[in-house]
């Protein structure tokens, strides 16, 4: 039965996450925007609370670690599971602050990768640990098949060499999921992900970046010099399978893209709520019954911003719902990420124009949100990459045909 409302069973989770966002994130939001690279120690206690929320709800979760593999394939009963509940949690928390969410212990994108592709033994071994994700290199970003970091089998270990940048929470996490190639000449199929323990000899932090936004979150660069990683830390199939080799590591994205879209949605809703408050204080009336053309330009623009937000939100819920129900969702996940990413930038920048100096100055959070927004249309697959994926799917083109 078609229903696009958030299920009642998530209302407790939503309420809890909203309280965290409102009472913990918002009050320290500006503080850690100004104090870049300072560790938000307020989050340590919160992380424990969140672990409790996740454990308590069974399927419920509020962080990136909550994404899962849906249900057993033999069931055709409609399910609202961990992908949707994680999304709902992320949206609420990012209404508070995106950078702080990214700094939440044990909720890194590496945790999503582990949750998505690790085997039972690995799931158990890495349980409760904070994992960051290292894909990008100085010479490759979106083109992850061009990864130069190498992994060479040596007995029961792999030896990793290379350089990784833009590792979110890379300084603070305990583990880093590193993408490396077993053979540069094979391309995608040879790329595998390895869980690397911080403190492993040869795994060195080079620097922390200074950024446009999400300054509460540390973004690290690493070099790997003969880093010895146990073979049992390889996630997924160790064999190089040209047929579907890349699928393993890419599978993570089908689950995490809706979550990153969810981050954009949380931020967008924060912007919309604040903008509405500022506009209404200025006497702008927003009327959902009268045609938009009969309303003030500000009201009409606001409704347009809300419309794009709703479109992005529903696309994202759809993608997460499909993941929960084991429906292939690569197309919908990329649609969601593309729409949510561009909407949050667009809405945040328009909001500043609508709110004038209130929007542009540091007296409100609007200017910070507009700075935070931009990364959400870049990381976890840029706007252009999402469009490429959507186009290939719709047109039935391979990555060789549509490049």
């Amino acid at each position: 039965m078609i229903n696009l409302e958030s299920p009642k069973k998530f209302s407790a989770l939503t309420m809890q996450a909203h309280q965290v966002a409102k009472e913990i994130f918002r009050p320290i939001s500006r503080k850690y925007d100004l104090a870049e690279h300072a560790y938000p120690k307020e989050l340590d206690m919160l992380a424990s609370l969140l672990d409790g929320m996740t454990a308590g709800g069974g399927a419920a979760g509020a962080g990136a670690a909550g994404v899962g593999r849906g249900i057993r394939e033999d069931s055709d009963e409609n399910r609202n599971g961990s992908n949707l509940s994680s999304l709902v949690g992320v949206m609420e928390l990012c209404w508070g602050d995106v950078g702080l969410l990214l700094s939440m212990p044990r909720q890194g994108l590496g945790n999503s990768a582990i949750a998505s592709v690790a085997n039972e033994e690995q799931l158990e071994r890495f349980k409760g640990r904070w994992a960051a994700m290292a894909i990008t290199e100085p010479g490759c970003g979106s083109d992850s098949a061009a990864i130069r970091t190498t992994a060479v089998k040596d007995g029961d270990d792999y030896i990793l060499n290379g350089e990784k940048i833009y590792v979110t929470a890379g300084d603070r996490a305990e583990l880093v999921v590193v993408w490396a190639t077993l053979d540069k000449n094979i391309g995608r199929a040879a790329i595998k992900s390895f869980v690397v323990e911080k403190g492993t000899p040869g795994f060195e932090l080079v620097r922390l970046e200074h950024k446009l936004g999400i300054r509460a979150s540390d973004t690290a660069a690493f070099v790997l010099k003969d880093v010895r990683v146990p073979a049992k830390n390889l996630l997924g199939d160790p064999e190089v399978n040209v047929e579907k080799g890349f699928a393993g590591v890419m599978q993570t994205f089908d689950n995490t893209r809706p979550l990153v879209a969810g981050m954009a949605l949380g931020l967008t809703r924060a912007v919309l709520e604040e903008t509405r408050r500022v506009l209404e204080a200025a006497g702008v009336v927003i009327d959902y019954s009268a045609p938009v053309i009969t309303q003030s330009a500000a009201a009409a623009q606001f409704i347009g911003m809300e419309a794009d937000y709703e479109s992005a939100r529903l696309l994202t819920l759809q993608a997460a719902w499909m993941a929960d129900n084991r429906k292939p969702n690569s197309l919908q996940a990329s649609m969601a990420k593309a729409k949510a990413g561009r909407t949050c930038v667009d809405v945040a920048l328009k909001a500043i124009e609508l709110c004038g100096s209130i929007g542009y100055s540091e007296t409100s959070l609007l200017e910070k949100w507009a700075r935070d927004a931009k990364i959400l249309d870049i990381f976890e697959g840029t706007q252009q990459i999402q469009q490429l994926i959507v186009a290939r799917r719709l047109l039935g083109k391979s990555s060789a045909e549509l490049r």
């Binding site: 039965m1 409302e5 399910r79 019954s289 045609p291 419309a307 479109s311 719902w321 186009a391 719709l394």
Partner: protein
């Protein structure tokens, strides 16, 4: 009566209506209908009452009959019910096989062939919206089902979809808001062999038209009302036998009136437009049209009028989604087959990303429309969701129409391809009020 029984009764009633039609085979309805027939062998057939085109009450119920609300949702779910899927498939088959091939001629002629309207009626779409007590086949009120039907119909052709669906907007309005007298008088005609052409007329000819600020007026007089005003872009205007017309009720607000086409002082002029030409749009001019006291729908309740406007806007959104889907389905093979500079144009990112964006925005339009309809049928407030769906469908719909022409280049501009018609039809969304209803 159990749900299964109700289902059976409905199936039988539809079967009764369509079994003689050759369409039933073509659209794969035979099998489900036969299954229902087999299951219900103990149920007696009820012969359809033949009704004339005189709007007279044959049999009156003690109170108005309404369809019960669809119920039973707790979880987020995008899967249509088996019944919804069956109906959508049948309408889609009709749209692709009957509407699409007839679209060019109907657009040119500014009219829809009568035979096509009869075939559309035989699908039972209007019948599904009328309760069984009133001779219909409906068991449940579902705005979502209606969205799926509108979307599927418009995938064939938007103008023809409007022509086919306009009469059911009137019957749906009578089911939702009519009292027992109004239902007894007018609804039997909509359960007959063919639907009477009928139209829901809200639009008025002026810039910045707002359906909540009407210039058409209804003045009270002894035993009735006097209507004056002009209604624009009314579908099937020349042939319609019955109208529901919006006018500002003196001393109250905007309200809906049942107006028979034969009313003295009511004049029709053809008003062909940029698009929706198959729907044979016209202007309805009301000059001192005298109506009886029972012509007012729902006692002029403000919330009923607002609901009518919202449900109509959702229907337009569904039509936009259907038309947009038709455009995307047409564009994909075209850009894959069209070769320029030695390879398919779809291998160029500027073309491919355009297709991607059509796909993304279209899916967002669809979901926003479904959400508004789903809230409506759950009895939740849906004004905001409707405004959002309308904004999306109006803005993105127009872009899809424009991109469809653009991606075909010169081919898009000529009438050998349907893109130019979609360009014209999609502009109607965001302009039109009334006409269709989910």
């Amino acid at each position: 009566m159990s749900t299964a029984d109700a289902l059976m009764g409905r199936g039988l009633r539809i079967l009764n209506r369509v079994s003689a039609s050759p369409l039933i085979d073509r659209f794969g309805l035979r099998k489900p209908a036969e299954r229902l027939l087999f299951l219900s062998s103990k149920n007696a057939f009820r012969a359809a009452e033949k009704v004339g085109r005189q709007f007279t009450a044959v049999q009156k119920l003690a109170k108005p009959a309404r369809l019960p609300k669809a119920s039973g949702r707790a979880l987020f779910d995008l899967t249509p019910s088996d019944e919804q899927q069956m109906l959508r498939d049948a309408v889609l088959a009709f749209a692709n096989e009957q509407l699409r091939p007839a679209a060019v001629a109907a657009d040119t002629a500014c009219s829809t062939p009568a035979a096509l309207l009869i075939q559309a009626a035989e699908l039972g779409v209007a019948l599904m919206g009328i309760p069984e007590e009133l001779g219909g086949a409906g068991a449940e009120r579902s705005a979502v089902t209606n969205v799926l039907v509108h979307e599927a119909m418009a995938q064939g052709d938007l103008g023809l979809a409007v022509a086919c669906l306009a009469p059911s907007a009137v019957s749906t309005a009578l089911v939702l808001w009519g009292d027992e007298n109004q239902q007894a008088k007018y609804l039997p005609a909509f359960t007959g062999e063919s639907l009477p052409p009928a139209a829901l007329a809200i639009q008025e000819p002026r810039a910045l038209f707002n359906p909540f600020e009407l210039q058409s007026t209804a003045k009270k007089k002894a035993g009735g009302y006097v209507l004056n005003g002009v209604k624009a872009l009314v579908p099937l205007a020349a042939t319609a036998e019955l109208f529901i017309i919006a006018a500002q009720l003196e001393g109250a607000g905007p309200a809906l009136f049942i107006v028979e086409a034969t009313a003295a002082g009511l004049n029709i002029d053809a008003e062909p437009a940029m698009g929706l030409r198959a729907a044979a749009t016209g202007t309805v001019t009301l000059k001192n049209v005298e109506l009886p006291g029972d012509a007012l729908l729902a006692d002029g309740a403000a919330e009923v009028y607002a609901e009518c406007i919202s449900l109509s806007r959702i229907a337009w959104c569904a039509l936009a989604v259907g038309c947009g889907q038709a455009a995307l389905d047409y564009l994909i093979p075209y850009v894959n087959e069209r070769v320029a500079f030695g390879e398919p144009i779809s291998h160029r990112q500027s073309v491919a990303f355009n297709i991607a964006n059509i796909g993304i925005e279209l899916e967002g339009m669809r979901l926003a429309t479904l959400r508004a309809a789903s809230r409506a049928e759950q009895g939740l407030d849906f004004a905001r969701e409707t405004a959002i769906a309308r904004k999306l469908c109006a803005d993105k719909g127009v872009v899809i129409g424009s991109d469809a022409v653009q991606l075909l280049g010169g081919h898009g501009f000529i009438k050998e391809h349907p893109a130019e018609r979609w360009y014209r039809d999609l502009r109607a969304v965001g302009v039109m009020e009334g006409v269709v209803l989910v």
